[in-house]
């Protein structure tokens, strides 16, 4: 029997996978390093967030569910900052 929570999980995880797909397409097809970086960080972060959201109903315990959210926030934080650093390196013409 598919419960409402299961449906929510399936929906969120499918959406997350779609965003990963979009990010990878961007990575392959965008013309420029900076645009590829953008595709990678934004789409993949959203994908990870949706996947983590979808796994929350399946977590065993409140602490595990909380950790899933912390993972997402941590990846957002580090992804945002490191993409700034990589972008600066690209702008400085590092090869």
């Amino acid at each position: 029997m598919i419960t409402l929570l299961d449906l929510f999980s399936i929906a969120a995880i499918s959406a997350g996978t779609f965003f990963f797909f979009a990010g990878t397409v961007g990575l392959l097809r965008f013309p420029d390093s900076l645009t590829r970086l953008h595709a990678l960080t934004k789409a993949d972060n959203l994908g990870l967030g949706l996947v983590a959201l979808g796994l929350i109903p399946r977590a065993d315990g409140a602490l595990s569910a909380l950790k899933l959210i912390v993972i997402w926030v941590l990846v957002l934080l580090s992804g945002g900052s490191t993409s700034q650093l990589i972008g600066r390196a690209l702008r400085r013409g590092r090869k």
Partner: protein, 90 residues
Amino acid sequence: MNDLLLAAAGLIVLMVAIGLARILLGSNDVERLMAIQLLGTGGIAALLLIAYATNVPGVEDVALGLALLAALATIAFINLLDVDQGDAEA
């Protein structure tokens, strides 16, 4: 349900593989840094899905550790780039 999780994990791993192939093989040094980013986000998503599907306990801690380490590695690589091609010596 588990099959769906595994299918999603498999798709994500495939996309990480394609992304890695593109990044590692086809580009310059700075773009290779994006490989660490890719593994950090896609890798963690696939890891969580696989572990939830196969009932491995305690995977959230591993994912937290991976997130921290991906950030650490990127900072270290940026420092290396700055030295190799920047204006000061180590």
